[in-house]
Amino acid sequence: MARLEARNVSKSYPGVLALDGVSIAFEPGEIHGVIGENGAGKSTLMKLLSGVERPTEGAILVEDSEVHWHGVRESIDAGVVMIHQELNLVGTLTVAENIALGREPRKGLALDHKSARETAKRLLTEVRADISPDTMLEDLSIAGQQLVEIAKALSYEAKVLIMDEPTAVLSERETTALLDLMERLKSRGTTVVFISHILEQLIQVCDRITVLRDGQFVATLPKGECDEATLAKLMVGRELADYYPTKTPSWKEEVVLDVQGLQVPGHTKDVNFQVRRGEIVGIAGLVGAGRTEAAEAIVGLRKSAGSISYEGKPVHFTSPRQALEAGIAYVSEDRKLLGLHLTRSVGENITLANLRAYGSLLLDRKKEQQHIEHWVKEIQIKVSSPDVDVQTLSGGNQQKVSLSKWLDTQPKLLVLDEPTRGVDVGTKSEIYYLVRKLAAEGMTFVVISSEMPELIGLCDRTVVLREGRTVGELTGEDMTEEKMMMLVAGVDA
């Protein structure tokens, strides 16, 4: 008897058929992976299964009886809990209060803070998060928030726990802890549904993996039959030959950016690195290493001390506008809050940073349209029309919009912060090729990433930060996961 099942469900949004007659069943005590390209319908399917949205057609069944949920309360009562792809927490409440929200423990009339805090502490320990329950949520990094989200989901003690790309914002250490946690949940009989674009993780923990493509069910493979090549082929519908582009060194000797002794109060103490023209430089580090802050300081988003020189001249930008005028652009890791205008259209988002190129008084809408179409095609943004709101896009496609916004400004130096977070393998590979191609044409890249294979596969060189300091640099043959891991975590070889 399946614990949770979707039978022939379809879901349509205005202009989009997101799901087309999908059937899927989850058994007790299994870890079930779900994969598919961006926009394949994974999140939509999970929203139907967790009562957030209702199917246009088909049925949802819990232990073989059909359910018609009207809201999250009912699905939670039935034992189905979902961690959404986008964070849904309250910034102005503490971690403990967020975890307790909706089911606060009481002492008389009042909220029982002590018990809420203890529960939070216990759950945070379970997800291996070193976070105080009294921290304001908005003071946490995205990774921290994601861990809180997971802790909150655990607190429901659900029978089915759906996790929609929980690892996208986590670094190695937290990811490993999370995969462990899944195993423990499974041994307690919980069903875990796990969505991810990192196939390696899926293969490691899943008992079965279901593949979706274009809103349709493709296949469900048992553990033994899953390997990266097969899965990728099922997802994309073709063979993925060379995942990373070949590293043809395209850089020149000229140093474009030279950062020396960069200090961002409270975040970095001594960041040093150089970037040459046409080079792709990676920056590795654990969450909290200060990579994002260093990048933000460079483009004028944060106050900093130390020296930065760009194209041979010392610079000190006080706003991204100045940085952009000099040719430096920064793609934020937090696409939801900082990278995108969710309530505006795809097209508007893509051209926002580059409006000057479309006229100073009047917008050249034809030219704008051409550029928008170019990017939608170039990096395969799956969208029915560029006029729809970005918030209706799937997570990975939103990431692509954020990327296009900056590519459209044609910067000389582009700083990418977690550029492929939530992007499917097929498109990821295409983004790598695009970056390589642009580098060959003379564009310079700084790539901040928590995925080591990505840094290794894409970058010419990787700078490692630890606790706000540059602790090393790896090039060529030296760029291996072991060496990088050691530098990142500060354990001596």
Partner: protein
């Protein structure tokens, strides 16, 4: 704590104390009298209680423009019910309390109507309650023929706003122990209750959640509509209490001027107090100081004999200064 965050947190209090200090220095003969402080509280009880309720509502992401009109309506109905009771020869205080009950009933009902328009009707709070601002006032004028509704109570109603506790050792300007009216305690009680509600109860935490991130609240299975409705009902209750205080003070209500502009004063006090108009964060004690600050400006305009034509400039500038020293705050 650094200066910036310190001021962000305590700036409104600092502004209040500075203004009080200035007043004491410039007019010691008035501002050193304990009566002044007592009056400051008693005069601003009504708008203060409403502002306290409004704080909770604004934290939840709502707003209520109808409070002043609803106050007139509730007060008017209350007095009429009381008068009817008295005509039926009910004992004075019983009639008075019947009237009080009617006022509270009307105002809570009014609050619920606002809440239903916002939740079930899915109308933006600003417009939903703008309708009330117009309609409740008009209704009051209709039942009062545009004029006053006078109470037929002989002292009973007034007693609600009078009397109180004498403060030992502290002499009022009439050389008798200073009386602290009960209504001041009601106001302070409202402040304490709202603080408790906001910061110590599940409901309070849900108010914050709904105001800060409605979707997150939905996903956490919080009944968003119930929370919102609750917030509007609380404002209604506060309006009801304020209407009783207003009616008791003058033993009558004016259908056209009672509560006029209270919405603006209450919202101003909330915002000056450091609560963000965009919801999700707020503090009741700040509102208390905001109310007292606005009240003190009014007192000051009288004692300093500021020309009527310049009063607005003085008031406007002081408000801006009070808020400027809290700058760095998130935009409301």
């Amino acid at each position: 704590m650094k200066f910036g965050p310190f001021m962000q947190k305590w700036g409104v209090l600092a502004a209040f104390l500075v203004l009080l200090g200035l007043n004491i220095v410039m007019q010691p003969q008035v501002f050193l009298k304990p009566d002044v402080l007592r009056n400051l509280f008693s005069q601003n009880c009504g708008v203060g209680i409403i502002a306290v309720g409004m704080t909770l509502l604004i934290v939840s992401g709502g707003i209520d423009l109808s409070v002043g009109s609803l106050m007139a309506l509730a007060g008017g109905v209350g007095i009429m019910v009381m008068n009817k009771s008295l005509e039926g020869h009910a004992p004075e205080m019983m009639a008075v309390w019947t009237g009080v009950g009617a006022s509270i009933l009307v105002s809570v009902a009014g609050g619920l109507v606002n809440g239903l328009l916002v939740t079930v009707g899915r109308i933006a709070p600003f417009v939903a309650t703008l309708g009330g601002l117009l309609a409740y006032r008009s209704l009051t004028q209709a039942i009062a023929d545009g004029s006053e509704i006078a109470s037929k109570s002989t002292g009973g109603l007034e007693s609600l706003a009078g009397a109180g506790l004498p403060l030992p050792f502290i002499m009022g300007s009439n050389h008798k122990p200073l009386m602290v009216q009960w209504i001041i305690f009601v106001f302070l009680l409202a402040v304490v209750a709202a603080t408790f509600l906001l910061e110590r109860t599940p409901f309070g935490r849900r108010l914050v959640a709904v105001g800060a991130n409605e979707k997150a609240a939905v996903y956490a299975a919080v009944s968003v509509n119930a929370v919102k409705l609750g917030a509007y009902a609380i404002v209604g209750l506060c309006v009801g209490i304020a209407s009783v205080i207003g009616a008791a003070k003058l033993n009558s209500i004016s259908s056209s001027s009672m509560g006029a502009f209270y919405e603006l004063d209450a919202i101003a006090a909330v915002v000056i107090g450091g609560t963000s108009l965009s919801g999700g964060r707020g503090r009741v004690w700040g509102t208390l100081i905001g109310v007292l600050l606005l009240g003190m400006i009014s007192t000051m305009l009288v004692t300093a004999n500021v020309s009527i034509y310049w009063q607005g400039v003085v008031k406007g500038v002081i408000i801006l200064l009070a808020v400027l020293i809290q700058r760095g705050q998130k935009a409301a």
